[in-house]
């Protein structure tokens, strides 16, 4: 009797899991489907495109190929190669700096109690406040120093915004290393910098990498500040998406393909750090 109960429970479990999977996969499945459909199928309910095309993707890069008429593509005439590269640069460098600065600061806070409670409070605060509340003065400030629509401006902003996460995450990893090993090295005459290089970093490599990937995903997805800072030069992918949606209204296929392209890097990286997610570092390792 106990055995049949087990089988029934398993069937229910798998059924529910399938429901959850359908729910989870639906939006992306639909976008993938749309991205391979031609305009004639955009308003149709079929999941599998009757005549799959790759034009949607190609048109993102070579928009001189307007689909279905010239009145499309009036406002979006550039290929997405630039936004794509911008996203890579901004996210990449932003992550790099956030990790460097954050690691150093996290180490200082963790081992030497640098910065005091104010640093901690401040870093917490930056995470709590809505980004929008910074937009007004940021615009003023950046236009004064001509940082609007510049790489420097955007990267600096990205670094600052993700610093909190960087410090939070990496401090957790640093805390896990027993300080005794570092103290031993210090007592042998090594400077704190050497200790960092030779002891701490090799030991926290995994955590650092995972944190870096996580922050990259955050920067890659960042929208608000990119929207505010960029005009024409540093448009990132998410901003480009919003421009598409407002400008070309019903061009579902191209919107979908753009969405898919924007998603792939961040989901791919996400899978790499999934193991770490599951061990609970998502919420900053509060324990």
């Amino acid at each position: 009797m106990a055995r049949t109960k087990g089988v029934a429970k398993n069937i229910v479990r798998y059924l529910l899991l399938i429901v959850v999977c359908v729910w989870t996969l639906a939006p992306v499945a639909w976008m993938v489907s749309l991205s391979f459909k031609g305009p004639t199928e955009w308003y149709a309910p079929n999941l599998m495109p009757a005549q799959p095309i790759v034009d949607n993707y190609i048109n993102l890069f070579i928009p001189t190929n307007p689909i279905g008429g010239s009145h499309f593509f009036t406002s979006i005439t550039e290929p997405i190669t630039k936004p794509l590269i911008n996203s890579l640069i901004a996210a990449g460098l932003g992550t790099l700096f956030a990790v460097l600065v954050g690691f150093l600061a996290a180490y200082g806070v963790s081992r030497y109690r640098a910065g005091g409670t104010f640093t901690i409070f401040f870093t917490l605060l930056t995470r709590m406040l809505p980004g929008a509340t910074f937009v007004a003065p940021l615009m003023v400030f950046y236009s004064s120093i001509r940082f609007i629509d510049t790489y420097v401006g955007l990267i600096l902003l990205y670094t600052a915004v993700t610093l909190t996460y960087a410090i939070w995450l990496m401090k957790g990893f640093i805390d896990e290393i027993p300080p005794e090993w570092e103290e031993a090295a210090l007592l042998e005459g090594a400077s704190p910098w050497t200790v960092l290089r030779k002891v701490t970093i090799p030991l926290t490599k995994g955590g650092l990498a995972a944190s870096a990937l996580f922050i990259f995903i955050l920067n890659w997805s960042e929208f608000l500040f990119a929207l505010v800072i960029s005009v024409t030069q540093v448009t990132t992918l998410p901003v480009q998406i919003s421009k598409y949606v407002s400008a070309v209204g019903r061009m579902y296929g191209t919107q979908a393909s753009l969405g898919i392209i924007a998603t792939i890097p961040s989901v791919a990286l996400g899978y790499l750090i999934q193991k770490h997610l599951v061990t609970g570092f998502t919420f900053g390792r509060i324990r």
Binding site: A114, A160, F223, G270
Partner: protein
Amino acid sequence: MSITDRLAQWMGKTESFKKLSTLPLSLVLNFVLIVPFAIMIYLSFTKWEPLAGYDWWRAPIAGIPRFIEAFADARLAWALIRTAIFVAVVLPLEFLLGLGMALLLLGDFRGKKAFTSIILYPMMMPWVVVGLGFYLMFQYFGPVNLLILRPVFGEGGMIDWFTDPVLAFAVIILADVWQWTPLMFLIIYAGLVAVPNRLVEAAEVLGASPSRILRTVRLPLIKPLVVIALIIRGLEAFKVFDIVYIMTGGGPGGNLTEVISLYVYKLAIVYNNTSYACAVSLIIMVAIALITRLAIRPLEVKVE
């Protein structure tokens, strides 16, 4: 070198190191955050916009009329209310669904890793794309209408989701729930797994059924974790911007689904009402800082 000499040298180095380690941090933060913050405080006491014709640092101090304006601003109040409703709806939904998912995945079974990977991926998508995805799904000629509503309710059952403020809001809520339930799932699952199996067995031997064990043993033991998760998710939910911008832009009717982030953004960028935007931002910041201060204190004790 003697031990004491070495120690002294080490001390010297640690002091400088200590200061140096947080120096880059301070530089960046000061530059990017604190300076604008100062500007914000200053400007909120003036009346200035980019079109005013003179540089902002020459703006005349006008005192507190901006702040008074804020308290009389109905649109601001509505934005706050809407955001509050959003958070109040989204949190319990994400918690319950996350709990359900966690319970579903408890235990060993074939394909668990694969299912977990699938369940987790929404968290990793850019918010904008999530907004886009739901925007596409809920179009009048989109799959929700065509695949679900039309077959069930016929032609008249199809809904124009984004022209009705309540329905549009519902779609926005759905998008957020879709994206962030996996996070709650993750946290709750980690907590449930951490419940020692012995306790579950002890309860079993004492006669408890699985649902009773869930109620009396598992859930109470994950409560602290869940509280933290809800707070973090709540703070992020309050900041929602991307999905609203993409899906409705605040509409229909220009501002019927406007959340607070969107309103402040519009004030600053679209209406160029800079000093007012600064005033509103300042009020919000202060409010959040205060609330957090009050809420964090009892928590700080718990986290210790």
